[in-house]
Point group: C2
Amino acid sequence: MSTTQENVQSASATYAASFTQGHLALPPAKHYLVLTCMDARIDPARAFGIELGDAHVIRNAGASAVDALRSVVISQQLLGTNEIILVKHTGCGMLTFKNEDAYGLVEQRLGPAATAELKEKNLDFLPFPELEAAVLQDVEFLKASKLVPESVTISGWVYEVETGKTRRVV
Amino acid sequence: MSTTQENVQSASATYAASFTQGHLALPPAKHYLVLTCMDARIDPARAFGIELGDAHVIRNAGASAVDALRSVVISQQLLGTNEIILVKHTGCGMLTFKNEDAYGLVEQRLGPAATAELKEKNLDFLPFPELEAAVLQDVEFLKASKLVPESVTISGWVYEVETGKTRRVV
């Protein structure tokens, strides 16, 4: 067993020992979803005030709305959420490269079979060059999608990894 | 401003007031990533013992490895992670429907333009009928992908929303 796997087991034993929320229902009690980045420096529950059971939390590289669309539709159509809090953040890795850089790394490190899989899956890494513009663009993408009804409230935010603050952009 | 937006602002002010971790680096300090579900009843940091800055956390509907592949490749190739903890959970919404059910709901509630967008994007909602089989299948998917090198350690787990426990499957 790896050190990380051992850590999961011991943390889980501690968590379960004082766990009292086994009664929570499947649909989010407060009917919203948070879409944010996978970045290790973000703890959405604490930073954005999400109580257990209240909201879906979708996380991917860059808090990409394009990448999250499947989950957003399931959250809304099957589990009744009607608000989206989209949060990108300062210092995001997605600001630091372009698709061709990532394709180059994959080719160099993993070889031609990996590049072939990238191309077969037509994988877009969805990096972005400017943070606030990307927040606006993703909010617009969600608003423009026919899969997100107009009744859904959408706001866009930036979390500052340097200060722990979250500020609204749109 | 919505109640949820007000809650984000007040929670953020409280969090930032005692925030002391603005020095953390972009790459995850413990070089692993957790892939789990967006489910509102999961708090990965507490349930799986993730300290701020230690690990990427990817979340989508059902903890789908297929859906997460873009983020997994970025995490590994650009930010140096080399271990995946994949955690699905009991009572998952993805166990409760089939693709055609979701397509039917979208058509009924959002109309033909939404259905056209679903088809244009060729959206697969990736539901699964059996929990542990889905954990095995997703671990196998990652192991079989040429985009995930053999040096990456991968384990599959189930979180029990009823008990707060996380148990290893593979």
